[in-house]
Structure formats: C-alpha cells, structure tokens
Amino acid sequence: MEELLHYHFDVDGENFASAGEASVQVKRLLRQMGFSPDLIRRISIAMYEGEINMVIHANGGDADVYMDPERIRVVLKDHGPGIKDIALAMQEGYSTAPDNIRSLGFGAGMGLPNMKRYSDEMTVESTVGVGTTITLIFQSA
C-alpha cells in the first residue's frame, strides 16, 4: 500500500492546550486537495481524538498521514503504556483519563469509539509497556 503523498507530524506531549495542531494542518491540506467536506470532517475529527489520546496517555507520539485520491490512511504511533484491554477501551464511556483531563472536557470515553465511528477501517495494535499504534483508513471514493 504505497500512497502518493506522505505527511509526518510530531505530536507534542507536553502541551495539552495546543493538541490538535496536526489535525488542523491535515484538515487544511485535505481542503486544498479538494476532498469532500464530509470526508475532511471525518478524518480531522478522528485524527484529533488520536492526538488527544497520545497527549493524555503517552506523552505524545507520531502521526503519519498517507494520501491518494482513493483513500487516506492515518497512522498514530506512541510509546506510551499501551492498552491492557482493547475491547474494553473501545466501549463508549470507558476511560482511564485522570480528573484534571476530565475537567478540560475530555476523558468521556469517546475517543476510540469516535475514531471507529468516523473511519472506514480501524486497527489497534497495542502492547503493554511498549506502546500503541492505531491505523485509520478512510475511503474517498
């Protein structure tokens, strides 16, 4: 699977307030390329949830976006604590976010479910103590 374009973003784990910068840039790029507003919205929201998760749980990570006219693939990779029970984490409302994050309006247990809801395919690979890689695929046609 070799897409035409590849963009890499470092997700800064130190600055919660600026989380979402990569998603906003991707949104801008997709708009310039003429993808449909609905697709752009789905991709940028799913990616933002991933960014937020990396900031909350893993002190940041890497976001790679691969684009071609037919599909967009987003790979979010971190070296955080990993997810013990992926099926549980996928349930709406389940969250391990700390209280200070909840007070900012996150940690509602909607991150992974939203990523699944908005993508066409989602794969979660995680090893406790090693990290998590989430791959999201969006079909544009």
């Binding site: 989380a19 979402g20 998603s23 949104k27 919205r41 940028s44 929201i45 309006g105 909607m110 809801r117």
Partner: protein, 109 residues
Amino acid sequence: MTVEQLLQQTGWQPLLLADETREITGGYAGDLLSWVMGRAESGDCWFTIMSNLNVVAVAQLTDVACVVFTEGVTPDASILAAAKLHDINLIRAEEPTYAACVRLGELLG
C-alpha cells in the same frame, strides 16, 4: 439564519466575528469535547460553558457555525486569539444553556 441575524435577534454579545454571514442550520449543547466531536454537525450553533483552548480546535474540526458561551462564561484572551487565527465565530450569552437553546430553536422554527 446567519450568525449576524442570530446576534440581532438575541442581543447576545459577539466576542469574535470571523464570518458573520455563516449560515446556522442547527444547534448542539455540550461540554464534553469528545462527545461534541461525535455529535455536533457542520453548521450547528454550539452552546457550551467549557472555555479552554481546546474548544477552538473542536469548533474548527466539527465546522460548527459559531460557539456560544452560555451562563455568562467569558473565555480568556488566549481563546479569542486562537479563534481569530482559525476563523471561529465566538459569542457570549448571559442566559442558561437551556434558555439559549430554546431561543435558537424558536428562531430556527
């Protein structure tokens, strides 16, 4: 109804108008940002009392028409600066969230 018309009809305070001609097609109320991202629609008027910087990112990503801070909540200068950078309409209402929603509902018909 445009953002400008909403302001005229309600008397709510514009905090930052990036595009007052933006059309409002619906409404959404919520403070849990992931919940908002999962549910708010493009073109919605989003009512919230949450006033941290992430609100601007969520508004941009969901493509809502405007954010209305209800219950007299006043966002700080960093939020206004971010909204200006990202072209987000910010409005402030003294009314409680429920009352503000009812007003929008009446105006949208």
